[in-house]
């Protein structure tokens, strides 16, 4: 069943905002609602923003009142430099529990939950396989509080999926993502004049371009994918290769023994090197992304291309004006969304106009029967079938359904 009424938690996160932008461009999508503690950081045309944290009762009221069929949970904190331990735990473990509870229950309208998780569920250890597949479990208990929280959150998602076999529950395990706007320890470390490394180690590195991260989330909304999926770019580099692609020297400043203590010292001079990155710097990690690719998604950037794109952005860094960023003004946004004087079509930037769709319409439901009839012969078989299902489930106009049936019979 296609997702039409979508709730995004964590709208203020980079990917939450990007996903909302992508979804609101699609006329098939009726409603996009975003919730977060903080206002969105990107310009949105018709996404509605509700300032609410992950309180179960409040989200549940929104879900029920708006008849949300798909919840996309992008709140997950996957990097310990973003926030403190307590806030992260509250967000990742308790928040996830609350969001899931708001989607549960036999009478809930929610049919699909997409959960943004992290490759940190696998950890990085000496006896790990070179590529993790989704069916592998980590063989050692989590080493850091962040990993522990992420594992706990994913367990809660798996439990929710087991209790609700009739719903699609997707967990996307993302590799570290790179790109301007992403706030994370890898971004900071790669932004240093020399790339810190552990002496005697050259770990394998796999990342994901920020555009692909948003693309993966959108793909999961548009398709029904059940279970966990690895999302990481094609290709695995070694750290020395990353450094040379960035045109920077590799600095093996961390000793192989007593690395934790040395990292603490490094933190004192202002370089943020969180504990969950230490084992990645030692053993590295790579994911087998083929299960996700088998669902039809093609990653736009390889790991190498992601790093090269980062290099271009780093060169531009000194010239970019950070203050020019979008600022959410509640009254203006409300005016743009609600006032009858605003022409909705001019707001939505139609970068990627969907094929086979009449311009300016808000979906098939906005079309009169005659308009629809004229359109039918141009559609192919799968579209016709989808449309028939849609029409039968909604307006149920006999003339339209009959015409589709005739066309389908003729094509058979």
């Amino acid at each position: 069943m296609p997702s039409k009424r979508i709730l995004i938690t964590g709208l203020s996160t980079f990917w939450g905002g990007r996903l909302a932008q992508a979804l609101e461009r699609d006329p098939e999508v009726e409603t996009v609602i975003g919730v977060d503690r903080r206002p969105p950081k990107v310009e949105l045309a018709r996404t509605e923003y509700v300032r609410v944290a992950d309180r179960r009762s409040l989200i549940r009221r929104i879900v029920e009142a708006a008849e949300i069929d798909t919840v996309v949970d992008t709140r997950m904190v996957v990097d310990s430099i973003v926030t403190g331990r307590r806030v992260a735990h509250e967000n990742n473990v308790i928040g996830t529990m609350n969001v899931l509870a708001a989607c549960g229950g036999p009478d809930s309208p929610v049919r699909k939950v997409v959960f943004k998780s992290s490759a940190h569920v696998y950890g990085a250890e000496q006896d790990d396989p070179a590529y993790f597949t989704e069916s592998m479990r980590r063989r050692h208990p989590p080493r850091t509080w962040l990993e522990r929280d992420i594992v706990e959150a994913e367990d809660a998602v798996a439990e929710f999926a087991a209790r609700h076999p009739d719903r699609t529950v997707t967990a996307l395990r993302f590799a570290n993502s790179l790109g301007r706007g992403v706030r994370s320890a890898p971004m900071e470390l790669l932004g240093l004049p020399a790339i810190p490394a552990i002496l005697g180690f050259d770990p394998r590195v796999q990342v994901l371009h920020r555009d692909d991260l948003a693309g993966c989330l959108e793909h999961a909304v548009r398709h029904d994918l059940d279970g966990p999926y690895n999302c990481a770019a094609d290709g695995v580099l070694v750290l020395s290769e990353v450094a040379s692609l960035l045109g920077k020297p590799l600095a093996p400043v961390l000793p192989p023994w007593g690395t934790g203590a040395a990292a603490a010292a490094v933190r004192q001079v202002g370089i943020r090197l969180p504990p969950e990155q230490l084992n990645l710097l030692r053993f590295g990690r790579a994911l087998d992304n083929r299960r996700f690719k088998a669902t039809g998604y093609r990653f736009r950037y390889t790991t190498r291309e992601t790093v090269l794109a980062l290099r271009r952005e780093q060169r531009l860094e000194p010239f970019v004006d950070r203050r020019a960023a979008y600022r959410y003004e509640e009254e203006v946004e409300e005016f743009l969304r609600r006032s009858p004087s605003v022409r909705a079509a001019s707001q939505a930037p139609a970068d990627e106009p969907p094929a086979n769709r009449p311009p300016g319409s808000t979906g098939y439901d906005g079309l009169r029967a005659e308009e629809l009839m004229r359109l039918l012969p141009s559609l192919d078989r799968s579209d016709l079938e989808a449309l028939r299902e849609h029409e039968a489930g909604r307006a149920g106009r006999a003339t339209v359904v009959g015409a589709i049936d005739r066309l389908l019979a003729a094509q058979r």
Binding site: P129, Y131, M136, R204, V236
Partner: protein, 295 residues
Amino acid sequence: MAGDERASTLGGEAGGLPATTSDLRELLPGLEPERRVTDWGRSERVEGLLDRTVSEFLYRIWFRVDVEGIEHVPSEGGALLVSNHAGALPPDAPMIAKAVKEEHPHPRPVHLTVEHFFKGYPGFSMLLPKIGAVPAHPANVHRLLYDEQQLVLVFPEGRKGTEKLYKDRYRLRRFGRGGFVEAAMRAGAPIVPVAVVGAEEAAPAFAQFKLLQRLTGLLYVPLTPTFPHFGLVGMAGYLPAKFRIRFLPPVATDQLGDEPWEDKALVQSVAHEVRATIQAELFDMLAERESVWFG
């Protein structure tokens, strides 16, 4: 050379495998010609440099390697090379890889499997993947054999082989728990037994220092003709024994019924058979050998 490897990755022919599984092999990452390092961390530059210098010297001059039965190594598709193992810093692995490269009509890269220990030890962790070593994880072997259709070299004796003393030379240790047979069966790849004579005399170990081993955290610290009294360099101080490498006829694993790896008795008996083949061949080669140094 690493370039060839990536190209064959894309080839991905089924090689007589059952077409029951939905084929994820077509979704393997594509080739990036600008890269000099593979996704496994194998570096064309480092490997090429060592190959042209150290390996070339050892192969041609120092060990004067004789190779027989190279035709038993398949030209395409995954295959598991299984060999006996000896020496503190075993010279047999690179010599087998070099033999396939030099003597085979279609030279192919060989992936050596090594203990996980090396991934965690500074220095080794950086260098070994660069020359084609891969941690001996069943998932790694499966991906190489089945998905990427590569040649993989395993030493089922593991460290029991490399830490054995000179007095036990050419007597094969237990072949693990038959994990290598299981891996080959799952991938439907043939097993090519390999017998190597010469490595035991090139790097003999006369004793093991248990205390030093514990202090350094290494796998073992042996007493060899050159180690420890010549320092760490002494680890690679090989004696110029004559090497003879014999590749034996492959053992097929794809005609043993459905999911043969579930049958542990069958796995054990194939493992035993491979071990017996190599052991018999070793005794045969030792009987023929007239001199340790001249063959």
